[in-house]
């Protein structure tokens, strides 16, 4: 039995549809009820929904054997898990953005507003840039508009929110997509089950890339 943690929301539903299409379906999932955990003995799977940023925690601590999580979360929380496959969905990029047409002065400490302090710190450390991180939990775009920060480090999908607020992406830090992860111990003890799922994913999803 493989315990699978999926991120609540659109991405998770898409992942479930993909898993279901390669023989890991669990009809209970689609019923409208208040259950939290869904089991399908036949296909040997048990699914549950978790807050996207918590999926990695469930997998790292072995409550789930495998899970699907955005690369942004993996880079931010650096959980000790295997990252086995790039599902190539939920694609976006982690970018530095700021006021359109402007560029922050290079002779001052750069003020960076972000939900991803770890990613921002690692990125600017690699460039030896002196920064001050302002940790926010949402609506990051307001920070540079109100001059609270020089730039933001955030996920950019289509760039619409940026454009509508007279902001633009300055540089891309890293490309993001959904990743299939596994607990390091479960992977070993449930090697056959996990690698069967992984092989099926490669077979069916690789060519679509």
């Amino acid at each position: 039995m493989l315990n699978i943690a999926l991120p609540k929301g659109r991405l998770g539903e898409k992942v479930y549809a993909m898993f279901s299409s390669i023989g890991y379906g669990c009809p209970e999932m689609l019923e409208d009820n208040r259950k939290l955990i869904f089991t399908n003995e036949e296909n040997g799977v048990r699914y549950f929904w978790a807050k996207p940023s918590d999926v990695a925690v469930y997998v790292e601590r072995g409550a789930a054997d495998v899970g699907v999580v955005g690369k942004d979360i993996l880079l931010e929380s650096e959980p000790d898990v295997y990252e086995l496959y790039d599902l190539d969905i939920g694609k976006c990029r982690m970018a530095v953005a700021g006021i359109k047409g402007e560029r922050p002065a290079s002779d001052k400490t750069l003020r960076v507003a972000t939900k991803f302090p770890n990613i921002a710190r690692n990125y600017y450390n690699s460039k030896s840039r002196d920064i001050e991180i302002i940790k926010l939990h949402g609506s990051i775009e307001i920070a540079p508009i109100l001059k609270m920060s020089d730039v933001i480090v955030d996920i950019v999908e289509t760039g619409t929110t940026l454009r509508e607020n007279n902001l633009e992406p300055y540089e891309t830090i890293v490309d993001i997509s959904a990743r299939f992860i596994a607990n390091k111990a479960s992977y070993k003890f449930k090697y056959d089950e996990t690698s069967r799922l992984l092989e099926k994913m490669k077979e069916n999803f690789d060519k679509k890339k």
Partner: protein, 372 residues
């Protein structure tokens, strides 16, 4: 000796089992001081798995001391090179940050260190002790083995910088074929070499079969030496009857600058992280200007506190409730009598809801009355 089975916690039981095992192979216990000078850790910071160290000033000398985050360093630093190896085992508390919140925790480690000239036998002795250590915990274990020499030999075929190689090692440790390809493609690594690195990262399974696959991608002399060492390890472990628990797994990683040969991690079914970690670390001794080789491992007992333990049904056999009128000497006599019968007894003035009891008694009219 009295039977302490009912009282000992899981982790405590394992300590006795492991000590017995190491003593039976002639290893001597090494008892350590609680503190070390901080400078010592500072010099070898990257050997430590966690960077946070608790420090304080010695009020007598003004020296900066540290609560020990690691045992191995302390054992090897005073090693005097000679023909005779040091064979030590230890059971010590260490203080290191762990988990996602990076809180510093006290945790119990039991481990083995062999410092001296290493040959095939002694290497295999330590590794089979690691396997036997896991076996004392549960028969459902896996000992995953990697070889730093093989990994570095393959990485040396690329002309990547040291920091890029370190990144690549991290990616092998997460088995991320897609990320390895990305890094190699971006840095002009030959595609056939990239495929080999990807293959190395994905190996897992039966030791013998995997080793054959490894041979196919290990052309250099250094890599061949590593394969031969793994091969002879497998043969010895096979004769010891624990080869089916052995896995080749190159996602097991340790710091390149300290570890050089075989490295390994132990897992038990039901625990999400490795409960045992070890390897060959000659490079550390070279850094400390010593000729000796060294290999060792540690078992993280704090992880085993809850391992496969069923909830205790009762805290005590008998709970006695008495009041101000009760005769103290009568009560103490009764408690003594019951404990002599082998029962655990707890006497209190009020019924304590935190304590789970098998039977409940009250002291009434100078007698013990069982609660119906």
């Amino acid at each position: 000796m009295a039977d302490f089975k009912g009282i000992l916690r899981n982790d405590e039981k394992y300590i006795f089992g492991l000590r017995q095992l190491y003593e039976s192979y002639g290893y001597k216990q090494f008892s350590m001081s609680k503190f070390e000078e901080y400078d010592f850790y500072l010099e070898n910071k990257s050997f430590l798995k966690s960077e946070s160290i608790i420090t304080f000033n010695d009020p007598m000398t003004g020296k900066l001391l540290a609560l020990k985050p690691d045992i191995t360093l302390s054992i090897v630093k005073e090693r005097i090179d000679s023909d005779f190896p040091d064979k030590f085992y230890y059971c010590e508390n260490v203080y290191r940050a762990s988990g996602t919140t990076k809180e510093i925790k006290e945790s119990m480690q039991v481990g083995v260190e062999y410092v001296g000239e290493l040959d095939r036998y002694s290497t295999c002795e330590v590794i089979s002790l690691a396997a036997k250590s896991l076996e004392t915990i549960t028969p459902d274990y896996l000992l995953c083995v990697s070889h730093m020499g093989l990994v570095t030999a393959l990485l040396d075929e690329t002309d990547l910088s040291y920091s890029k190689k370190e990144k690549l090692i991290k990616l092998i440790a997460t088995r991320s074929a897609h990320e390895i390809k990305l890094l190699c493609d971006n840095n002009g690594v030959d595609p056939s070499l990239t495929d080999k690195i990807v293959a190395l990262a994905s190996f897992f399974g039966d030791f013998e079969a995997t080793l054959d696959e490894v041979k196919a991608i290990a052309p250099s002399d250094a890599a061949r030496d590593a394969v031969n060492e793994l091969d002879s390890l497998y043969k010895i472990m096979k004769s010891a009857g624990c080869s089916d628990k052995l896995r080749l797994d190159f996602s097991i990683m340790n710091d390149m600058s300290y570890y050089n040969g075989i490295i390994f991690q132990g897992f038990v079914d039901g625990l999400p992280i490795n409960v045992l970690s070890g390897g060959r670390y000659d490079n550390l001794l070279r850094k400390l200007k010593k000729r000796s080789d060294a290999i060792g491992f540690a078992v993280y007992l704090d992880l085993l506190e809850r391992y496969r333990e069923s909830e205790k049904e009762f805290d005590v056999d008998i709970f006695i409730v008495y009041d101000d009128e009760s005769d103290a000497s009568f009560l103490s006599g009764e408690v003594r009598r019951l404990t002599k019968e082998g029962k655990s007894v707890r006497a209190e003035k009020h019924l304590n809801s935190d304590v789970k009891y098998r039977e409940l008694y009250f002291v009434r009219d100078g007698r013990l009355v069982k609660n119906a």
